[in-house]
Amino acid sequence: MTIMRKLLTSAVASAMMVGGAQAEISDNTVKIGYLADMSGTYRGLAGPNGLAALKMAVADFGGKVDGAKIEIVTADDRNSPDVASTTVRRWVENDNVDMVAGLVASSVTIAATKVLEESNKLGLVNGSAASSITNEHCTPNHIHYAYDTYPLANGTAGAIVKEGGKTWYILTADYAFGHSMENDVTAVVEKNGGEVVGSIRHPFPTPDFSSFILQAQASGADVIALANAGADTTNAITTAAEFGVTQAGQTIAGLVVFLNDVHALGAEVAQGLQLTTGWYWDLNDETRAWSDRFMEETGDRPTMVHAGIYSSTMQYLNAIEATGSDDSQTVRKQMMDTPINDMFATNGRIREDGRMIHDMYLAEVKTPEESSSEWDLYKIVRTIPADEAFRPLADSNCKLVSSQ
């Protein structure tokens, strides 16, 4: 049955090719696949709320782009690259999915983008943190939109050193992701005249951080940096608060911390924590207006990932409207040529390696006295300009970068 459909659609497609109709929307439908962790550890990062953001974007387009219907299909990736690769393959080969959104766990994203590259469809990555996605794993078929570890680590570390945090102690999750962040941070700290006085590689995951916090305290470093993510980070921050780390004058720097993490911790525990974010709901009127709508849908304030999913989908649909085509390369080129100015970014632009660069913000978590509501959590300390924030193309290992 599926074979029949496949044959039919390819027959239709080739008929269109003969007609020379390059600028056509295939089967007169734009189909978006939303692939994310809906049930596991990364559910909070994109999950069901990310799907809500995606649906908001589609609804804002009236469910149609350039006369073609917009459809959404969804799947839980179960944080498994096998599932991701099978799902995406079936989506593009049998269901004519044009674009895949969401994409959280790095293993899932890399597996999915490899399939997208083979089948020449498009992926808009918002959930993943790994900067390798537009570095050694870059493809001409995906865009990494909201953030990655490079600005998170570098933005935070650079800014804190400049503000006088000279000596650093790093708690590193002991696997590839943690190691690469530790290296990034060390480089930035040293470049800015600071010094890394010690580091600990802790197992992933670690349920109890007291032993490591104690060692970090004993080091006497100005700053304790957390080169880990998710539950490891929130557990480390809770324990640090309990052991009076900030009261004793040390600063905690979270390298990969999201609004949902800080919300779970609460201002009382997380106060004084410095972190970098790509977006915050309470930046300006435009962000607040969108966040209010989002909150009506979901009951939560959006994280930068949710906002990124909305914004990137709007950009994508705009590009289809502008070109009248849903061909991946046509759309991607149009997206690269159009500066991004919306509630998510000002003068954002997509580079040839697929990295969307935009201003990032160094934020500090408010004290309970400063915080007026449960989601009023950040004060923006500094804006990190787009060109400083992301990995320079000169350092890129991406095969698409011409200097390579």
């Binding site: 096998d82 099978t86 293993s107 597996a111 590839a176």
Partner: protein
């Protein structure tokens, strides 16, 4: 009628019964084979290959659990070791043909299995399960930290390459028939093992270990060999999986994977040949199909519910229950 007549009569009827049963089996197997050969034209080949890899994994596990009575809670270690080894070799040594990579992965998993077996084989019941779990956790921690696995990112871009340097495995159909051939070979191998004198000793050990000892069997040796074969086949499943998907990831090493293979075996019918295959097909489908549909947020609770239901209501699994039914009503 004389007594010898009666005896020969009984023998004849037993023979006849065996014959009908054999014929039934033959027809069933023939139908299944034809279905498997035609399947990739109807269903999605990569998905079918995934099922075959997990089916092989479950068949391997069942050799130990279903036929020897040893519950290993650490079989994920072999699946992952096979996968990572093959993935690493094929990605880094371009001279290697695909089957060499797969053989190497299987060998490393076999050696690991021997190590596990030597350390655990004297433990009984729950202690055996726990030792294998502990050893598998050690392997998991190694894979998390070892740089070549890529940690959470996983290992990607494993080339499928060419079989014997001749057949292009990038083609999904070629790949499918290769996986199918390997799977069938292993399935037949396990079938042979189980019905061989060696297999009968394994079953005897399962039923009553101390009697097997008193009959003079060197029980430990039999168990070690069963463990090693099981580990080797599990490793082979992992190796093929890494070639099929062109990736290897930590999911395969996690203890949940060890739990999942138990579920596959149990639900299909442990101690039967076809059971684990059916169980793997079911579990992979449940995870995948539900993940797409409106129940996608409920996959874990549903799997949990199936676990509970299987243990409570049909411990012999689907195939086991069907066999019971057939014996009762058609014997």
């Amino acid at each position: 009628m004389s007594q010898t007549d009666i005896q020969s009569d009984i023998q004849a009827s037993i023979l006849r019964q065996q014959k009908t049963e054999n014929r039934r089996k033959l027809i069933l197997n023939g139908v299944l084979l034809v279905l498997l050969l035609l399947a990739p034209f109807v269903l999605y080949p990569v998905f079918l290959m995934k099922i075959l890899c997990f089916a092989l994994f479950a068949v391997a596990f069942n050799l130990l659990f279903g036929f020897t009575g040893l519950l290993s809670f650490g079989h994920a270690a072999f699946l992952a070791t096979g996968g990572y080894t093959t993935g690493y070799l094929l990605s880094n040594f371009s001279g290697l043909t695909t089957e060499m990579g797969i053989i190497a992965g299987t060998l490393v998993a076999t050696l690991l299995g021997l190590g596990f077996a030597l350390l655990s084989i004297r433990r009984q019941g729950i202690y055996f399960a726990m030792v294998t779990l502990a050893l598998a956790q050690l392997v998991f921690f190694f894979f998390v930290q070892a740089p070549f696995t890529g940690g959470e990112d996983g290992m990607h871009g494993v080339p499928r390459g060419e079989l014997f340097g001749l057949i292009n495995l990038e083609d999904n159909l070629n790949m499918y028939y290769f996986v199918l051939a390997v799977f069938l070979g292993c399935y037949l191998l396990v079938q042979r093992i189980v019905s061989s004198p060696y297999g009968h000793v394994l079953k005897a050990i399962k039923q009553n270990e101390s009697r097997a000892v008193s009959l003079g069997y060197k029980v430990d040796r039999y168990k070690i060999l069963a463990f090693v074969i099981s580990a080797a086949l599990a490793g082979l499943a992992g190796s093929m999986k890494s070639v099929v998907f062109q990736l290897a990831s930590l999911n395969d090493a996690h203890w949940h994977m060890s739990g999942e293979v138990i579920l596959m075996t149990l639900i299909g019918g442990m101690g039967t040949l076809l059971g684990p295959v059916l169980g793997a097909t079911l579990v992979v489908n449940i995870e995948y199909q539900l993940g797409q549909g409106p129940l996608r947020d409920w996959v874990d609770p549903i799997l949990g519910g199936i676990f509970v239901l299987t243990v409570l209501a049909f411990r012999s699994g689907i195939v086991g229950e069907v066999q019971k039914f057939v014996r009762k009503n058609m014997g």
